[in-house]
Subunit: 203 residues, 4 copies
């Protein structure tokens, strides 16, 4: 997938607005990116209120070296997904409450298992509810290049992986297009919520 810079920026803004409407990016948290081409991504700048993103809050950066004075500290995590997975078209990172809660509950085990639910079919490549996926949970780390290296190992191991969690922090979800990345994000959040409610009250 390639897109004009303008289309990639528009996809980032749209995802930010939608995530804010869901309450998934409280207190200016979250980051959103979309691929422009083999070398570049459009990515939200640091500190912006994602519910009020404008064109000026989105940067076009090199995925090999995503530096900019206004780049988010998490830009390396986005760039890594575009480098490791050439089919990646968009990456949405949110702090949804359900994501943070499952990351806290299952952080010790290193993954949250999801199985037996129709909604698993929302993930590209899954065609039956009789599937099981394991969403990796990485320990949180303020050194984001180091965190990206950790994520990379999981991503290269499992070609069916469309998301990972960072413990006490949030969720990265991606897809081959912005629409698919959003579908995956909605599926993760709904599955995490079902998991929490079906296995122990709201905990």
């Amino acid at each position: 997938m390639t897109a004009s810079p303008e289309d990639a920026i528009a996809a980032v803004i749209d995802a930010g607005h939608r995530a804010a409407a869901r309450g998934w990016v409280p207190a200016t948290s979250g980051n959103f990116s979309a691929r422009v081409d083999a070398a570049r991504m459009a990515v939200s700048a640091t500190g912006a209120d994602k519910g009020a993103l404008t064109r000026d809050d989105v940067l076009v950066l090199d995925i090999a070296y995503p530096r900019h004075e206004r780049a988010s500290a998490e830009a390396p995590l986005h760039a890594q997904l575009y480098r490791d997975r050439p089919e990646t078209g968009a990456v949405w990172h949110v702090h949804s409450e359900n994501a943070v809660l499952v990351s806290l509950r299952h952080g010790g085990a290193g993954a949250v298992p999801l199985a037996g639910l129709e909604l698993l079919k929302a993930f590209r490549g899954i065609t039956t509810h009789e599937a099981e996926i394991r969403v990796p949970i990485l320990p949180n780390d303020q050194d984001t290049p180091r965190l990206a290296a950790q994520a990379s190992r999981h991503i290269l191991e499992d070609a069916r992986l469309w998301g990972y969690l960072i413990a006490g922090h949030g969720l990265y979800a991606w897809g081959t297009t912005p629409a698919e990345a959003w579908r995956h994000l909605e599926a993760f959040d709904a599955l995490f919520s079902l998991h929490l409610r079906s296995t122990g009250g709201h905990k």
Copy 2:
């Protein structure tokens, strides 16, 4: 009930938008249909985001043989309701979290009982809170014609039935008109939520 194809399509689009606004169709899940006449239904196409349904995302199919390259895999479940119940005017299928949770909790028993609540009067034919209904729960099955045959047995047995659950999947609800099918859908979701919260925390 019969409707012009245009009116049936408009009813499908409206229901999709309303269900999306409630969060009942995450990740492009759910399907919506309305009867055109004795032989045809308007039904949402596969893969569409139900919150962004347009006229182009709704197909008019034969209820005897609901095939189309863009038909949802669940079109046979809709068609079966129009065939088995001539009074059916619309069928709304959603993945509401409350529906999935009750289906998981009561799947073993094969039905969820609802009794003693004023909101039961929302169902056509019920005139007092001193009523009890049992909502059947079918095991999930990717073979939807086979699943439709299972549903058919319940539907033909109980003329007061306005909905059934599929375990780990979601809810089908219907009515003699689109408005009545929506009223039934809202009643089921509210009753499921009350059931979950009044009998064991959020589980």
Copy 3:
């Protein structure tokens, strides 16, 4: 308080729309009324979707004898409040989930106690959080004139009472003006939610 029929009707429509937006009137449940003068009230008709109320869905009825072919079966409960309490300006009846849940949990005791919370000051006549109120819970009854007689006893006993619950059914809340009735309704719902969450999970 008196109002023109038009203003009373507008207040009813506004309250219906606001309650629907909160999810407090699922499946066409709920009724809304506002006083016109010493003899009349404007009240929502039976069966209407309260989120789509129009002028045509609101009737102006005599509070002494609230009969009309489109009158809600619960019109006598509204009329009774205007008769027993001359200061009543508006009555909002909703099926909010929190109201139904507290009515189920405390139905046996016949009342839900609320104490020690700042939000109690939202009720007319209460000036400190160091207050306690008891919200009566009536058993549900499809004979609404008989139910109104039960409500009447509580209302005439306690001049500080601004609401009561019907078990497994919902909440009646009122005030001297439509705005005050709404403030009381919001306060009840928030207090019921706090009560449920602070005393036993979501049950």
Copy 4:
């Protein structure tokens, strides 16, 4: 920070509307203020519905002596923050359910501890999730000048403090600008919700 009276009033109105949309100011609760200059603040008047605030509902008061016939009883709590903390640009006071619930659960201990979560970085001065903050909880008191004196002790002790709770009542949050105060408010609410859900169901 200084602002024109008009800009400070507009910030107050905006915050009130946003808080109402979140359900954080039920039943006309909550108060909102923004600094004009070293001597004055714009502050919402008593009794107003914060979701319908207009210019006429906002007063410009002296922070040394915040009296006015329409002043909220809680104006002294706002004024105290502008006096004790010259960098304070805005103060948002809400009755969010999560805030009230944590205040009830931890009121005996006098503070709620928050630690180990990425969202802590939303607070000015915190740069890692490996931080811990303690949000003080004051006993509720209808004598608001006395309550302000209690708050003052906590505020002067801890320069990193951006909020405190009042037991059974709500949250005060502030920042050097209206946008920062809002970011802090969203962070507190999200962290309180995570705390409640990760440590004991919804209680």
